[in-house]
């Protein structure tokens, strides 16, 4: 199991010297599946790249610790050392693999990852109906994404970063991907961070939610914490104490402060809208970031 902490991490792209892509991010990443959400250009991919060590922060520090039954080992955060990299994999939004086929990847790339499961790969590919001998270059974007999604899950790394993994997949494939993610990820030991705009497909799987706004981590909370603090309701009349209301086909979808005895189901889409709303975001962010009462 790998624990990851970001301490005051900031990053600025060299070609945009006046704008922080990520500014002063403080974050402890928990095990399980985490949804990373935010508007386009908010800094989601930059954050994933920082976690993957594809970018090094200009200020602040990334901390990686390998937790074993006996001890906790601090892993080097620079130089992409194998002691860390064998536990980490990232699937990019527009992947251009250097391997020709998944069969080749299984033979030549996967052996570098100690937890790789050949059986899991076979079963995932079978579920998606993909032949491992099909050249990746001849695949459509959807097929390529399915093949690499199957492969990435089968590497069984402690940290798996997925940038828009289901973008371009049809509805059936997205359902299959959800089932696959549920089956392949061990939420006790693996950390999966997934940036996606198609949240509804994976909603039941998310253990944590991170919202990024203009390069800042606005919210980082577990879904349990969110439903403990906020209530998501649908009603013909908007509630008087609503923190945020959105009307859709005559029904009012609202967010209110949670009632202790009435836990509701999380509406991620509504939460996303609220967090991007100027007026509502401040109050909701404050409620979600409040330290837990003892």
């Amino acid at each position: 199991m790998i624990n990851i902490c970001l301490n005051n991490v900031s990053y600025r792209y060299p070609d945009q010297p006046n704008r922080n892509a990520i500014s002063n991010a403080n974050l402890t990443l928990s095990q399980g599946v985490t949804l990373l959400m935010g508007a386009n250009g908010a800094g989601k991919t930059t954050l994933l790249h920082l976690i993957a060590t594809l970018l090094y922060p200009q200020t602040g520090e990334m901390e990686y610790s390998l937790v074993t039954e006996e001890d906790i080992f601090r892993l080097p955060n620079r130089g992409r050392k194998p002691s860390l990299m064998r536990h980490l994999f990232m699937l990019d939004d527009n992947p251009t693999p250097s391997m020709r086929t998944i069969k080749e990847a299984r033979k030549l790339h996967a052996p570098l990852y100690p937890n790789f499961s050949s059986e899991m790969l076979e079963s995932n590919l079978r579920e998606f109906g993909i032949d491992e001998r099909t050249p990746l270059q001849s695949m459509s974007l959807g097929e390529l994404k399915r093949a690499l999604f199957s492969y990435a899950l089968s590497l069984q790394t402690d940290v798996l970063l997925l940038d828009e993994p289901v973008n371009g997949l049809d509805m059936g494939a997205r359902d299959t991907a959800r089932g696959m993610l549920a089956r392949c990820v061990d939420p006790e030991n693996q950390t999966v961070i997934m940036s996606t705009h198609t949240v509804s497909d994976f909603k039941p799987l998310f253990d944590n939610i991170i919202h990024i706004s203009h390069g800042s981590v606005a919210v980082a909370a577990s879904t349990t914490e969110i439903v403990e603090r906020l209530a998501f309701r649908c009603s013909p009349i908007p509630p008087a104490d609503a923190l945020y209301v959105a009307q859709e086909t005559g029904i009012f979808h609202s967010i209110t402060a949670a009632d202790t005895y009435d836990e509701t189901d999380i509406d991620i889409h509504l939460l996303y809208q609220a967090l991007n709303d100027k007026n509502a975001s401040k109050v909701i962010t404050e409620i979600l970031n409040r330290p837990p009462s003892i």
Binding site: R74, P82, S83, M85
Partner: protein, 256 residues
Amino acid sequence: MNTNTSLLATDKFSIHRAMMVARYYWPSLYTVFLMVAGGMLMTIILLMLSHISFVFSMVAGAVSCVTGFIMYLSPLCLCRSRKPSIETLLPATAGEKSAVLVVFFLILLPLLTMIPSIFCSKEMIRTLMQSNMELQLLDDVYQHKYMLGSFNSMGPTAMCLYAVTAWPGRKSKAVLMTLGVLLLLFVVGGTLGGWFAFKLGYEDAINGRNMANVEELTMEFGNMLAESMFYVSIGMMVLTAVLVWLTYKKMLNRQF
């Protein structure tokens, strides 16, 4: 918390892991390997046929030249994407990755291209030589060529490898930088040759020596050329070493 990562014993250079990295890169490398090996084989066959007609040796020269260019630009086979995240995240040290590429591009391929010249061309040229002096000159040139001249071919390849590592996916930039090093080699070689020719002629004029003694002049010019080749090769050796170091540093700190 334990901060002693050596307990994990995985971050030191490992031959086993380097072999695994080589296996990972092999599908990208083997096309280049086949092209260079094919060019080399064709050159040998053409040289063997050169006793039939001089045309074969001319074609062999052309094929060898093309094979040389393929070798200079061989690192382009690594140019698949501008953001090679899978390769960058490969669980191997930068030392292991760069060692595999350096051994392949700067040792294995140049050795492969040398095979025809070692086995064929010297003997073939020897048959064309008339005097002992010419044979001696040929031996001198070959001695220098094999000892240090190989670095001349490493320089452009090392530049291409560095460019491909520093700016992944930018083939044209890598090609231009490689051609730049080749041009530099030609300019330095041409300038030195011109300078020696001028020096010889000038000294002859001062000393009132007979310019008609072609054999002596050729011998003297050959000696000077061999000496200059030595310095050019030293320069290329330094350039190659610097570029290999920069390639390693880029692999270590590549940013997206």
